[in-house]
Amino acid sequence: MSWLSIIIAGLITYFTRFSMITFVNGKMLNRKIRLVLSYVPSTVFPAIIFPAVFFNDYGNLVEASDPKIFGILAAIIIGYFSKNIIATIISGLIVYWIFIF
C-alpha cells in the first residue's frame, strides 16, 4: 500500500462527497427527482445488509439456520415495534451471540 494510492483513494472519496453539494443547485432538482432520491437509503443500505447477512466470509450463501439470519430477524422485529435504533442493534447482536456461543 503506497502513500500515493491512499491519497488518490482519499481524493476520489472526497470528490464523491463535495461534487453534488458544490456543483448542483437544489432548485435543479424537481419534485420527481427528489421523490426518487428519497428512496436512496432504501436501496443503498440493503446492498450492504444482504451480502453481509446472507454470504459467509468466502462469498457463499449461508444456511437458513445461520446465527446471522436469527440475529437480523430479531433486529427487524424488535426494531419494527420499538422504532429504536439502539434496541435494534443490541437485540440483533444478543440473539446472534446466543446462537454462536
Binding site: 500500500m1 503506497s2 502513500w3 494510492s5 491512499i6 488518490i8 483513494a9 482519499g10 476520489i12 472519496t13 464523491t16 462527497r17 463535495f18 461534487s19 453534488m20 453539494i21 458544490t22 448542483v24 443547485n25 437544489g26 432548485k27 432538482l29 420527481k32 421523490l35 426518487v36 432520491l37 428519497s38 428512496y39 436512496v40 437509503p41 432504501s42 436501496t43 443503498v44 443500505f45 440493503p46 446492498a47 450492504i48 445488509i49 444482504f50 451480502p51 447477512v53 446472507f54 462469498g59 446471522k68 440475529g71 437480523i72 433486529a75 427487524i76 426494531g79 419494527y80 422504532k83 435504533i85 439502539i86 435494534t88 442493534i89 440483533g92 447482536l93 446472534y96 451471540w97 454462536i100
Partner: protein, 230 residues
C-alpha cells in the same frame, strides 16, 4: 449563537446511537490493518484521508490480497459513489453556504451523518444555521472513527475474531432504515435492492454497490409512476 450551539449539540446527540457499532467497527478496522501487515501510520492515514469505513476495509483487504492499486482505488470510488446520492439530496439544504464552507462540510458526509441530518433537515423547520446539525453529527462521528482506529491499531490482533463484531455492520444499516419498514413501497425497493446485491455480488470491483442503487432507484421510479397513475 446559542442556537448554533444547540443545533450542533442536537446533531451530536442524534448521531450517538449510531456510534455504538462504529466503535467496534473502528477498532476492528485498526486491528485488521495491523493484522494484514500494514504499518500503524498507513493504517491510520486511511481513516484520516479516505474516512469511509467499509471502503477502507475493502481497500486494505484487496491490497493485502495482491490486488493492484488501480483495482483497490477503483473499488473505493465505487463503494463511496453512494455519497453522490447523499450530496444530491443534501444540496438543497446547504445551497446558501459559501463555496469554502460547502467544501469543508462535504468531508463529513457519511452514511450515518446523512441519515440523521437529512431526517433533521426534513422534519425541523429551522431557517438558519441548520448545517450546524451536520457539523455536530459529522465531527462527533469523525472523532469517534479516528480515536477507535487508533485504539484498534494499538490493540492489534487482541480482539478475538470469534466475537463476530463484524455482524454489527449490517445491524447498523438496518437500524438506519428500520422506520421505512412501515412503508410497503420502501420494503419492495429494499427487497429488490437486497436481492440484486446478492446476484451482482461477484461482479468485479465490488461494482454491485453501484449497480444495485441503479436497479433500486429504477424500481422506485416505476413504483412512483404506478402510484401517480392511480
Amino acid at each position: 449563537m446559542s442556537s448554533k450551539l444547540s443545533i450542533f449539540k442536537t446533531g451530536s446527540i442524534d448521531i450517538a446511537p449510531l456510534l455504538i457499532p462504529v466503535i467496534p467497527f473502528g477498532i476492528i478496522f485498526g486491528a485488521i490493518g495491523i493484522e494484514l501487515g500494514f504499518s500503524p501510520l498507513m493504517t491510520y492515514a486511511t481513516s484520516l484521508i479516505i474516512f469511509g469505513g467499509a471502503s477502507q476495509i475493502v481497500f486494505i483487504q484487496l491490497l493485502s490480497g495482491g490486488a493492484s492499486s488501480l483495482v483497490a482505488i477503483t473499488s473505493v470510488g465505487v463503494i463511496n459513489s453512494r455519497h453522490f446520492l447523499y450530496g444530491a439530496v443534501l444540496t438543497e439544504y446547504l445551497e446558501k453556504l459559501s463555496l469554502v464552507k460547502k467544501l469543508l462540510i462535504s468531508y463529513l458526509i457519511t452514511d450515518q451523518t446523512f441519515a440523521v441530518s437529512n431526517k433533521f433537515f426534513k422534519s425541523q423547520n429551522v431557517k438558519n444555521n441548520k448545517h450546524y446539525h451536520l457539523l455536530g453529527a459529522g465531527i462527533t462521528l469523525w472523532t469517534t472513527w479516528q480515536v477507535t482506529t487508533i485504539i484498534g491499531i494499538l490493540l492489534g490482533s487482541i480482539v478475538p475474531e470469534e466475537w463476530g463484531l463484524k455482524f454489527a455492520i449490517p445491524l447498523t444499516f438496518l437500524a438506519i432504515i428500520i422506520n421505512e419498514f412501515r412503508k410497503l413501497d420502501h420494503v419492495l425497493v429494499m427487497l429488490i435492492s437486497g436481492i440484486s446485491s446478492l446476484i451482482f455480488f461477484d461482479v468485479p470491483f465490488k461494482a454491485y454497490i453501484i449497480i444495485t442503487p441503479f436497479i433500486g432507484l429504477f424500481s422506485a421510479l416505476i413504483i412512483i409512476k404506478i402510484k401517480d397513475s392511480q
